[in-house]
Symmetry: C2
Subunit: 352 residues, 2 copies
């Protein structure tokens, strides 16, 4: 497999474009290594970073001056426009002028679901979002290293969830401890997508932590998805507060067995639909069986009914079978597809 920037050049060439211009933060990270801020929505001082790739294969970042140092640290060329300051604000015009300064006037391949209309107006563009999604599925070695680090952060969060869950603590209090552990492990603030539900809420599959207080015999379903240096980790465990019920023990053992069966089936050549059918032959659950993971938290290959996607060496996939009858149980590990099968990247405790 050629490195990802070469694959991106193939995409823009196949589209008959002279360059690639992308605005989706996940694709910007994938091309450049730069991870735009995402936690507080659009900034009044800047547009989200834009990556430009020419046929030569060297990416360039269009960012506000505030981001210049961090963007340059990736080794990419950087073109800036004014950011945070005490003058009038017009980041859209600024980004537009910066982008125009590096645009040669030819056809541009873009991710049109994310590139703002204001920047696309005067450009002859063709949408290559679908091609980019597929190109991102196989990870380069540097991406695998980043994924190992983000999954290690997940492991720390899962350990904190177990260590802090106790009768009388609220889901939100448990969440504070878990997020604190994730950020301590990463030594920085992190964007985190998460399900953290307890007791009867576990049948809802997921949801944010709320006011509910944990009680003896409750199950806690904890699915943690932090972004570390631009790459999303992911893992899920379901565990009991105190002694679990017999029904919970049975459900958990079944899900754990299906997870093991899925892990055993992950190898180059495995077809996503077959992996999905394997899980659904033993469990009834309304969500995907798994998904790719990288600069996006849900990528190709999606392990869903009917998907013809074929696993390849270098893909990183989450598998997460579950059951949600009476109480919800979901277990999730992250796997690196290897030549021989797969390597389990997740290190968290899966016991009930």
């Amino acid at each position: 497999m050629r490195p990802r920037r070469e694959r991106a050049v193939e995409i823009l060439e196949a589209a008959g474009a002279g360059s690639l211009v992308v605005a989706h933060p996940s694709t910007v990270t994938w091309l450049t290594g730069y991870a735009p801020e995402i936690e507080t929505g659009p900034s009044p001082f800047s547009l989200s970073a834009i990556a430009v790739l020419s046929r030569g294969g060297s990416p360039l970042l269009v960012v506000s001056e505030d981001e210049a140092d961090a963007a340059a640290a990736t080794g990419c060329e950087v073109v800036t426009y004014p950011g945070f300051g005490i003058g009038p604000l017009d980041p859209i015009a600024g980004a537009g002028e910066a982008l125009a300064s590096v645009h040669d006037g030819g056809c541009v391949a873009v991710d049109a679901g994310y590139l703002p209309a204001a920047l696309a107006r005067d450009i002859d563009w063709v949408d290559v979002a679908e091609e980019l999604v597929h190109a991102r599925a196989v990870k380069d070695p540097d991406e695998v290293a980043l994924m190992r680090a983000s999954i290690a952060v997940c492991d720390a969060g899962q350990a904190a969830a177990r260590a802090n869950a106790a009768p009388g603590i609220s889901e939100l209090e448990l969440w504070t401890a878990v997020r604190g552990a994730l950020e301590a492990a990463a030594e920085t603030r992190l964007p985190v997508l998460a399900d953290l539900v307890s007791g009867p809420r576990t049948v809802e599959i997921g949801g944010p932590p709320g006011k509910r207080t944990l009680a003896e015999e409750d199950l806690v379903l904890c699915d943690l998805v932090p972004r570390v240096a631009g790459y999303w980790g992911d893992s899920c465990a379901t565990f009991a507060v105190g002694q679990p019920s017999a029904a919970a023990l049975e459900a958990h053992a079944l899900v754990r067995d299906v997870l093991a069966e899925l892990v055993a089936a992950i190898r180059p050549g495995a077809v996503a639909a077959d992996l999905d059918a394997l899980a659904r032959s033993r469990l009834d659950f309304p969500h995907h069986t798994g998904h790719g993971l990288g600069t996006g938290f849900h990528e190709e290959p999606r392990i869903i009914p009917g998907s013809a996607s074929v696993l390849e060496e270098g893909m990183i996939v989450a598998v997460e079978p579950g059951i949600y009858a009476g109480a919800g149980v979901r277990l999730e590990q992250i796997l690196l597809v290897t030549a021989a099968g797969c390597e389990v990247l997740s290190g968290h405790d899966l016991s009930l």
Copy 2:
């Protein structure tokens, strides 16, 4: 002042458009009350919610099916497309078709810096982002109530910062306690923008919490900006761990005096440039003196050099003078402009 939806209709009519289509989450919230998820960047399952306002003045939301209930709870009409599920994903096509189903073919007023190119391609559009920014500055009574609630959440966070700051605790540990207090007060997870820096880092004006450990005599600069039900609170305090130095006491007293002078000057008719000059006549700092606050965390009226913006009753403004020599000190309160002057909405402790 007419209610905000009427002001929005005036904007689209002045633009010669038949409807207004906006994608910026802050403007969507302003028009509809719906607060899109923002904490983890673009979703693979949906585009960020789009609000459509016709000349009749009733807003409509274009959202994924996952958001249908929350969107409908605002009282707005809702048009959906498929979201999270086990089938193929194409939220851009889904949102595009949903939007086309409510579009009458005429000219559309848009925020072109945020509306995706893919949705704008087949539309005759005119950008009204600048007009919307100004229309958002004066708050309706229901917005003032929401702002009071979000600023009360800030107060809880500031109290937790003071209560937990102690020698030996790291900035990140303090942050975990502060964020936990914000989310406990709101009874839910929150997007939060924040500066939390200590000791020598305070001269950097701001920044995220890091590994640094607090020590005796350190200053802690804590600027908290949580979004609660779609409206951003904001407040800043600077306080000492243990006994502050004489220099810190002096700097703090000066900043506090300038803050009081600014608060005394906030009234309808006050010109932003004059307020800014007032602060800069006594303090040297490189950032704005203040800004509007609402569904965006930095809005008009921006209190910056040269700004001709004039305060009006119903505006909500942050004022945040600072000094960053030796150690950084910044103090910030949020003010509602009233007929007679202003009401201080912030209730946090400003002492050193």
